[in-house]
Symmetry: C2
Subunit: 194 residues, 2 copies
């Protein structure tokens, strides 16, 4: 399959069969893609930050690490990773977040709105959207005072991360809408399923 | 109201009205209590680690900090805190977690099983349980290499944390079942609603 492109500030969803590989590509560099996943056979099973961090005993995930569901089942394995810095702490940017954190008066629907719209055809309600695995997102963590700061991604043009599906999944993916996450230039994301 | 006691390795659930205060007490010291909350009027709205960390821009929460729902509404404010160290990163301990991380052959149902049982009468299914706010849990975070390590709680006998409800809530609370979280002695938790 050739690349598909997610235009700036939008999102998409698709099925990924067990054994298929999803490659998420940053075509221009310094862009973030929020990824959520659900068991395609039973969408009450969802990608869980809390379970994944617990099993990994770390918050920085890269090649060889497994992303787990709320039921402790492996959903995705990171098979290859050009970047090595992703975030699994912060919720997707949203209308409410743009208003609260940045004072936007006509806030964009953000990754959250884009994920919700993309998941609607699969019967997955907005309230079911968990903390996303934020591909390429660079959140620096101060272990001493607890501060979290969103910095420009470390991804360069053409960098990618490859995920191997461990079960049949519904995956939703965005090109992030938060200026702070992408160094204040909205860019596309590309992906490939094979 | 006098204290209620949650026996070691068990859990409970109750309603907390907007404006009521929940005091979580560690009667013997070095014990953890997993806390989850849902909007009592619409239990599809749940306490969200990802939203809370995003709005706080930090992962260590204490006096004055607000715990948010998945819909970006304030659920609980931390009004007073003797301890100042809690965790909001790791999922509740569970049967699967005890088997996977510690190799237990007859694993306890853990905080997850206790939360699920306590929430069942409120019509909240186990798959709806999010990452808990782990009161008194001491997870040390290495911001450089990403390592997370579970250390004995900093709470001493009689220490407490007070939460003020910002909406009508269903709250579930445990006395944690994970040895690593409570320095390997299972203890009760006490709480008070007023």
């Amino acid at each position: 399959m050739t690349h598909r492109t997610i235009p700036p500030q939008s999102g998409t969803a698709f099925t990924l069969k067990a054994g298929q590989r999803l490659t998420v590509i940053d075509p221009e560099g310094q862009q973030v893609s929020d990824l959520v996943a659900f068991n395609a056979e039973d969408t009450d099973e969802w990608l869980s930050s809390g379970r994944t961090l617990d099993y990994a005993s770390k918050f920085l995930l890269s090649t060889g690490d497994i992303l787990y569901s709320n039921r402790s089942s492996p959903m995705l394995t990171i098979e290859r990773d050009d970047v090595g810095r992703h975030d699994f702490l912060l919720a997707p940017c949203s209308k409410e977040m743009f208003a609260k954190l940045y004072g936007h008066t006509e806030p964009h629907r953000g990754c959250f709105g884009n994920l919700a719209a993309a998941l609607e055809p699969y019967g997955i309600a907005p309230d079911r959207i968990p903390t996303a695995f934020n591909v390429f997102m660079n959140v620096q963590v101060n272990g001493t005072n607890g501060q979290l700061s969103v910095e420009p991604p470390l991804s360069k043009a053409g960098d990618s991360t490859v995920f191997l599906a461990q079960m049949d999944l519904v995956v939703a993916l965005t090109a992030c809408s938060a200026g702070q996450s992408n160094n204040f230039r909205f860019k596309p994301i590309q992906y490939r399923v094979e």
